[in-house]
Symmetry: C2
Subunit: 546 residues, 2 copies
């Protein structure tokens, strides 16, 4: 063997390599910011994020360049710039008064652990680039499986680390988890059979022809998450074949109506491939009657999936897990750890009752995922993935069941407290009572409440519609104005309350997941809303003059 | 309004809340580890990760518990434990001698920035939880779009921040990017038409019936990534309808063979919905003739997607971007920033030539993604997503075109250097010459090379097969043993070289993406392999005795 002389790197290359070899100096801008963040995250966010909202169109002016800059930049210059342009105009999702979405304050320890995860830069698709992270992820899935299905020791000893089995799949989020579950459901109902090699190999047309179905359908409550429609689109089932079933006054699916819908589909030779139970709904937090749905799924011989992306964390509370009774009958369950399990964004999971369930989507490749390997990538929708399971593992160990018991119980009880507060307030109307930690309500001046109730009693449909229309405008105004003031944030949505003949009605939507949200803050949110209402010059005067 | 007395938190709740409010002390175990990691990442990883490989079955014994622990744990205890059980047995993917997969050393600044990203915990699905991160992500997509398509100022001013348009979609990785591209392709070819509402609404059966096709197909090189098969399964096209086209001696797809395949499909009334060009292949790093493929896609009136998950970063090199000529003709392009763009795991992208391309998969929901909003979630496969685009943004700005020019050029030239080293070494055989920074080779004792070449010249098929069979075993032995010794790592795969009558042949696979991999390391990898060969007691003696 002859060897070439080693080429010496030139000056610019040397300075470039420094970003890979020389750490940020402790006195650098980025290090100082990191230090502040480590010492007082809430303070850092509070000081760095601008209180007053800047219009998106103005923010966009800082992100107009479309050419990758030619010259390298100093890290400190870049850091200064994003502190002003990006961080200052990001959203303080962990503020105790940010109660509009499912983000919360995070435990401090996830910050250094996240940094460690990034530094380790494992790729979970295969053992060669993840090693111990593979059994760790399998353990996390095993623990979540046990939380739902509570199988015996032997079960977990046998399957948790088995090469050709999986108790679940770790995903970037609940949407991928739901897609994975319905993908499996579809491939099971149209599985290989005789000469037919299965829908995964031969596609939908041949599959339906082989089985003699005219189409597939999925049954779910009208409150199902929009990711289910996306799944039906992606999986070629068609969004129109998501059969949306009416809910009762408590936003729980009407199982009798679902059974009727199934009968009608059967008459039309359309095979129900899955029933999806919702636990809890994204907009109101209610939980479908899971045991009855499981029974119906059995009658129809179809897959039963539970979308507990949001509500699944409540299984961690011994006091409230009964709310999800029946979930253990599901073939698959979606849970997002980045919601009420206090893990940073990017940690979804789908759990499988039967460790062989994912066989129907297994795939292999020569350079990785060889048959018989324990590579996690052979049974996941995603390919290369980071080691996020480590953060779920950390939260499960450090917070523990006892810690989660307190967090979940407080969260649910805080929602009940807020519901009471709203009901006791003369100018607010509770629209949906919280079953988990989510509720909806709206601001209705007292005089308007009286008129509205009278109009309902008198069955004056036109007047009811008129008042609700004005209230919709007012709710929008309050929500937007409150967000812009930057002190607190609730979200809004449109639901169809039974009380208002299921007319679409705009409501405030509140999620009480943040353990730092105090009773005082909740009272203040209402006070602020009542004050803002009077600033509205469009709907408020018309309502008062009614 | 009456107010309830505020319930005082009890002691265990107070201590629990501390994890959300009180930072890790600077003298804590986790803080000390973080400090080490910040000061010397390579040193930290080198010292923390065990040099010798522990069998997976032993590692698994530390991850057997399947019950979520009941009691909370101290962060320091947990940290001690994972340093021993997890970190020690993770993979040193950033080691300069880890040249088997597409991971590399990372620039230092991504560590504190990742921590900032986690602390901000934005959710990119909607503006309400991401604000300035939304235009930032759009800008990153705009810059990558410009890198590929190089449109004029007006184009980017008009579309980059337009609510109902998108220049691409940010994804957790290349697999989701490829799925997204093919989802769009499928929905375009089976789009709404007259009374037919499109495949996304009505499903595959009705769509094929409406358009009168007997099936759909996707044409791609036999070297296409396994995520394409997964996409075909997921999208109900069927894995068998991925028509695998032979490659030439340089692993580039044979366009004439592809045209013939398309003609045959047309005769059978099967519509080609997409051609996928590979740039470069996962196993050998070669790039398909993209301009010719674009021409064929035009003839067939079908979508042209380029999977440049790996090779796309080479567009950042003015010297080598000509290798990807024709990519600008693609309707969609996949690029992974977590490969040769030096961003941590979890940053894939798909770019769309036409800003209206994603309309066909757009979806909306009441509580978010309202029609006309700029929420990114309305045109992505995933739902809630972290602000990973920030790290791509940082790398683009801090490294800049000039920096990437050096990194990419060095990477490609290092691969050429290594190829020369292999060719000059009497005991190694280069199997595929690097076009990008990826090559394959194997160890073949000199005496065996002579016999093998003679056997090929004499057309002694049986002997060639026998020798290659023994060499496969030896390659496996060397690769496994080298990995276990923990000093360096190359991967292995099976390809079908033209030289060996396209018989599956096991080869070492090397990816030279890490800027810290030196020429000395490369020489040492070969030396170590030559030494390991002689330790083999199964294949090596039989080869020598031939």
């Amino acid at each position: 063997m002859t060897s070439k002389p080693i080429r010496h790197a030139d000056a610019s290359e040397q300075s470039l390599l420094r970003i890979f070899t020389v750490p940020e100096d402790a006195s650098s801008t980025l290090s100082i910011i990191e230090q502040k963040l480590s010492e007082d995250l809430a303070g850092f966010l509070g000081n760095s994020i601008a209180a007053l909202e800047k219009p998106l169109s103005e923010i966009e002016t800082d992100f107009q360049a479309f050419q990758i800059p030619s010259m390298p930049r100093f890290v400190s210059d870049y850091t200064d710039e994003i502190m002003q342009n990006l961080v200052a105009h990001s959203v303080h999702t962990s503020a105790p008064s940010f109660i509009g979405h499912m983000t919360s304050a995070l435990p401090y320890f996830v910050l250094p652990l996240s940094k460690m995860m990034v530094g380790l830069n494992q790729n979970l698709v295969k053992i060669e680039t993840s090693k111990a992270f593979t059994p760790l992820e399998r353990q996390v899935l095993g623990m979540m499986h046990h939380l739902i299905y509570n199988q015996n020791d032997h079960f977990y000893q046998q399957w948790m680390h088995s090469a050709n089995h999986s108790l679940g799949a770790f995903c970037s989020g609940g949407t991928v988890a739901n897609i994975t579950a319905l993908w499996i459901a579809r491939n099971r109902v149209l599985k290989a059979d005789g000469d037919f090699k299965g829908v995964g190999r031969e596609g939908m047309l041949k599959a339906l022809r082989h089985y003699g179905y005219d189409d597939l359908a999925i049954l779910v409550s009208e409150r199902g998450h929009y990711s289910l429609g996306k799944s039906a689109d992606l999986l070629s089932i068609g969004r129109d074949n998501i059969i949306s079933i009416a809910t009762d006054a408590n936003n729980k699916v009407d199982v009798a109506a679902m059974r009727q819908a199934a009968q009608k589909l059967a008459k039309n030779n359309i095979k129900v491939m899955a029933i999806v139970g919702v636990a809890g709904t994204t907009e109101t937090g209610n939980i479908d009657p899971l045991t009855e749905l499981a029974q119906l799924a059995q009658e129809l011989d179809c897959h039963f999936h539970v979308d507990a992306a949001w509500g699944g964390a409540s299984l961690l509370s011994n006091k409230y897990r009964h709310l999800l009774t029946g979930i253990e009958l599901a073939d698959s369950v979606t849970i997002d750890a980045h919601k009420q399990m206090y893990v940073p964004m990017g940690a979804g999971m789908v759990l499988f009752k039967d460790p062989e369930l994912a066989h129907t989507i297994a795939h292999h490749a020569e350079y990785i995922l060889r048959v018989g390997s324990k590579d996690l990538g052979s049974q996941t929708l995603e390919g290369s993935r980071p080691g996020m399971a480590m953060l779920v593992h950390a939260c499960l160990q450090i917070i523990g069941r006892e810690g989660y018991e307190i967090l979940i119980n407080n969260s649910l009880e805080k929602a009940r407290y807020f519901a009471d507060l709203i009901e006791q307030h003369q100018e607010f109307e509770l629209v949906t009572y919280p079953e988990l930690c989510l509720l909806t309500y709206r601001y209705v001046p007292q005089s308007v409440q009286l008129k509205l109730n009278q109009a309902i009693a008198d069955n004056q449909v036109e007047l009811v519609t008129k008042i609700n229309g004005l209230l919709d405008g007012l709710t929008q105004f309050i929500q937007k104005h409150q967000r812009e003031q930057g002190k607190s944030f609730v979200s809004r949505t449109r639901i169809r309350p039974a009380k208002y003949q299921r007319q679409p009605t705009t409501v405030f939507r509140v999620v009480l997941a943040n353990p730092l949200t105090s009773h005082e803050i909740l009272a203040e949110v209402l006070n602020e809303q009542a004050q803002i209402a009077q600033l509205d010059s469009e709907y408020y005067p018309l309502l008062i003059e009614l």
